[in-house]
Symmetry: C2
Subunit: 380 residues, 2 copies
């Protein structure tokens, strides 16, 4: 790299939410000059960077102007203007992950086709251009319909079980996927630097909130056998290599009841399934992302202990200025680490923070996490 | 506390250097609104807080105006205008550590008298008002002369060995202390909250750079026997109780060759002897300071593993825009964590950052740290 990443390099982050915030907490250790673009003038990163710009992530001119004097750009959200990033790349700005990867991952249909073309195990699927295609779908009911673009955190996803559901399906260009009767949702975060070094974090197990379709409970490391873990990690490494990505990539997978692993979705950035690495592992996903994009040796991904991550979601029924209940009580417990995201207003299921609970005794980590879930509430 | 410390409370930090910077890295987790006052417009904290004000820490009006609309003030340096803090306390602003403690600790003479009055073991000493008093000093040569005020990091300290040295001694009001032929310099960081809860970090061992008189090498936890560790920790707890301090307090001590422990100096704030707690302990000194001043339950101070801290000092012979040599090489090593302080310019022995080296094998941690010391350099 022409410039030392410490002190001189100007790094832009597209998106100023919690992922950017935690990335900045780590970037401080390396004197990185951080510029942030986010449409929300009260974004969590706004007071923690060298320059904060309020503007649309989807607008070509805004993203291009934000990036044109920077040395490097990374993202904390996929939904950004890729044409602008492509132009910036052409003009010599380093964009990690590369714009072509963001473009691929923005479209769940292209993602699925990529899996198929590269022999990456995934559920059967069909791309449809509108709702009418569902009448003659190649898949049997039930299946999942996902909008090809702009879905996130469970938004843009519908389960189609009955003929009635077909009537109420999304109109737009979508992907339908065979319903997977999985045993567990698992994830592996993989990092790759420009030298081609690739490294995975140990596989984690997730439980979702069925109402909000958000990760509610994550346990690391997984207790599944070595064979399953190695298979999941090998899949993640293969994807990183196939993509030739620079940066980190979260690979969300299903472990089916008969032991198959099917890739569900990718996220080419720090991810909710890696927050526990801050306290739980030798390097965090945020430190690893910085090492990867700055082409430094990748760090030690091993777990230091058992870690459970719970999302701190806005309590249903409350909307307005956030109030946190139970902080004092949970901080009196052993191994509890609270991360609030600097969001002034809460609403039902909004991600307001997360808590990591560590313990050398795995069952104790889990029971403490359940306790924290009962005590700690975000109300208004 | 009237306001929740998260989201609503406005916290001021007097001083915007590396200690404030690492305190902010932790305060981000609790949505603390941070205001910083520092005389250097390029201070390490300047881009990491809600509001940065450039101004003198010693000026009454500046400190008073900075603090008058805040809810709480803490410090990262003792050399601040205490009269302003006292007035602010009188008007209802919470100042932790309390202004009376900062006043006491600013004056090394008062500190010594406090030790004596409270039966805290310390070396024999005498207060002198000017150099002439040295002719009839009650202590035998050699002894240490310390300016009562404004000394730090070895500045304002002289070893007086010969009659010639007496001629060249400091003119000003000073403290002279019996020369202690110590075996090891040790430190204990203690925290106390307003409920009166007191907790110590495990004792650490330090080695100083004789040229710069700065901590150069710190090892935690100490390998001295439990009896010595408990005695050192009991002394630190007693001081915290005697002072009724709220916040953290670093207690620097000498372990003498015949096994006595003598208190050398106090620092009522995060301290260089606690940086390794970020990676080495369950809670860091920065997290503990926040817990203490916000009257939250104190955290778990145990060591997670062996940690060695080395200061990254400006290389002698170089002055100007800082360049870091060897970063890539040391990041390829196991358990190496770099913390740069965001200082643009280096000069000989300036504290530019620190590195924490952890390892479950203590000897390996030490040898890796020695290697980092050889490889990593700050030049210009």
């Amino acid at each position: 790299m022409a410039k030392d990443f410490y002190g001189e390099l100007q790094l832009g982050i597209l998106g100023g939410g919690q992922l950017g915030r935690m990335l900045i907490q780590e970037a401080i250790n390396y004197n990185v000059n951080v510029h942030v673009l986010d449409p929300d003038k009260n974004a969590p990163c706004r007071k923690l960077c060298n320059k904060f710009e309020c503007g649309s992530l989807g607008d070509f001119e805004t993203v291009y102007n934000f990036g044109k004097d920077l040395d490097m750009i990374t993202i904390e959200i996929e939904k950004v203007n890729v044409d602008a990033l492509e132009k910036l790349e052409g003009e010599g700005v380093i964009v990690y992950p590369q714009s072509r990867i963001i473009r691929l991952i923005q479209d769940k249909g292209l993602q699925k086709q990529f899996f198929k073309q590269n022999d990456i195990p995934t559920s059967a699927f069909q791309l449809i251009s509108n709702k009418d295609n569902l009448v003659n779908a190649s898949l049997n009911l039930p299946y999942i319909q996902k909008l090809r673009k702009d879905g996130y955190d469970g938004k843009g996803v519908k389960k189609i079980v009955t003929q009635q559901d077909i009537q109420e399906a999304f109109e737009e260009a979508s992907l339908i996927e065979e319903w997977v009767d999985f045993e567990k949702e698992i994830a592996v975060i993989v990092a790759r630097n420009d030298k081609g070094e690739v490294s995975t974090f140990p596989m984690v197990e997730m439980e979702f909130n069925p109402q909000a379709n958000l990760v509610e409970f994550l346990i690391a490391p997984s207790l599944y056998g070595v064979e399953i873990q190695q298979r999941a990690e090998a899949i993640a490494k293969k994807i990183a290599d196939d993509l030739q990505i620079v940066g980190i990539l979260a690979v969300e997978m299903f472990l089916t009841k008969n032991g198959d692993i099917l890739v569900n979705e990718l996220a080419p950035r720090p991810h909710n399934s890696g927050h526990q690495t801050i306290e739980g592992n030798y390097v965090s996903q945020f430190a690893q992302h910085l090492r990867a994009i700055f082409n430094l040796p990748l760090g030690d991904t091993r777990c230091r202990t058992n870690a459970v991550m719970i999302n701190l979601l806005g309590e249903p029924g409350y909307e307005g200025l956030a109030k946190y209940e139970g902080v004092e009580e949970v901080l009196a417990m052993e191994g509890v680490y609270i991360h609030l995201y600097g969001k002034k207003y809460t609403k039902p299921f909004r991600k307001m923070g997360h808590v990591c609970i560590i313990n050398d005794d795995r069952e104790k980590a889990i029971s403490n996490a359940r306790k924290v879930q009962e005590i700690l509430k975000v109300k208004a």
